[in-house]
Symmetry: C2
Subunit: 260 residues, 2 copies
């Protein structure tokens, strides 16, 4: 199957033949969040990610102007190999693009950040089903009262994603996701949403609500939406990201990112 | 005991009352390597550390000019709280200092990197004795043929430290050190030194040789000397580090750095 191979999937995406979210493509290979910023903002953003590794797990940082992720996807081109991009100017979304070559210059620095697909696959393989996947929804995300550690111009609250987990499997879900510290890792909170400033689980700030049943516990993981929201608060003249769900597919195997 | 408390130990060091290596001080608290560079070199160095986390495990990066490690040792002063510093100009060691305030300016960026004391303590607690500790020697370090991943102006071979481990405890030593990915983590090589370009274990490039007995296996870990040697190859106009063995003592507990 062509869809099993990350190079082939990127080639199809580049040719415009897979104009859809990347969930389920190249299974077992790591998908990444993209954040592309002008060089002047990148030292502060690098610091922010280093200080907040759970919401901002760095997979690779490219040198200024570089668009080939030599370490995680050699021969790929970061400007055309995600199926959809978002362009922000002065903190506002100005367009969605299939190709960002026109915005590129030698000062652009690309950050590839880990994505929750990696640990979700590990949970599913371990027999812990995920309601939003079953229901074909986007995961529910919430702005919390947990502060991130500020860095330079960047600061703001942590965004988390929530998955209802059967009470009997909560410990196992901590163990499984702890093996993947490069992709959000262990949960940041288990149980009572109010303790982290979430008033109503039925009203997520991003994504879609799902039910939490009586025998389930809401479990919260640091979310890769955090760095984007924090950057937008600082209104950089230009920021480019992938569009939600349209991740960049790397050649890393999810298991390469596990420890133990 | 005053020597059990990291704040008190730093206070004694600052007053010049502990003019000796920090091994054994504030047990259970994390000691750090220091690398201080002018701002113009720091993005490349940050990239280098991110791409080479085993030899260059970042504990904290301070913003330009900042000398208080707010996250790992609040109220400390990075310029006076290590007992001895080395100052390099254009790649050459020019002096050892008790206080680097005179070299400080608002463009200096400090990197605190993890140190092998953390995982050595974990090995010793698990009943795996370390010959260089028993014999009061510095650990043996070797330049290998393992390339680091280059970043900007920085490149060069990985330096490793070697500890002879009883054959029956090699697996356990991998497990124990895997728990500490922030402080060099699991070994990079087990056994035959020639496979990583080491010709003669009796002739280390840094530190002191120790014997490897018949029932022991040489086990190699990525070493924090790597970033210093790589930076010196690029001859920056100014670089300041701690002096070997005279580490900066943080308020982090070693166990804070363990995963699982």
């Amino acid at each position: 199957m062509a869809y099993d191979n990350p190079q082939k999937v990127r080639e199809l995406i580049r040719r415009g033949e897979l104009p859809r979210p990347t969930c389920g493509l190249a299974p077992g290979y790591t998908q990444a969040n993209l954040v592309i910023l002008p060089k002047e903002f990148t030292f502060d953003f690098f610091l922010f990610c280093q200080r907040n590794p759970k919401p901002c797990p760095i997979l690779e940082v490219l040198e200024p102007g570089q668009y080939e992720p030599v370490l995680t996807a050699p021969a790929a081109d970061i400007r055309v190999d995600a199926s959809l991009y978002r362009v922000y100017q002065d903190g506002e979304l100005v367009s969605e693009e299939r190709d960002i070559t026109g915005y590129w210059n030698t000062e652009m620095v690309t950050f590839l950040l880990g994505c929750s697909f990696t640990f979700e696959n590990a949970l599913i393989k371990a027999g812990i089903s995920l309601r939003h996947v079953e229901e074909g929804k986007n995961v529910a995300m919430y702005v919390t009262n947990i502060p991130t550690v500020p860095a330079g111009i960047f600061s703001g609250p942590m965004v988390v994603s929530m998955r209802p987990i059967p009470a009997a499997k909560v410990v196992r879900s901590v163990q499984i996701t702890s093996r993947f510290p490069m992709v959000h890792g262990a949960p940041v909170h288990i149980g009572d949403p109010e303790k982290i400033g979430i008033i109503d689980l039925a009203k997520p700030d991003y994504g879609d609500a799902v039910a939490t049943k009586d025998d389930e516990v809401p479990v919260f993981w640091a979310c890769g939406v955090t760095p984007q929201t924090v950057v937008l608060r600082s209104k950089p003249p230009l920021m480019i990201t992938h569009s939600p769900g349209h991740m960049f597919i790397t050649d890393l195997r999810d298991e390469d990112l596990s420890i133990l």
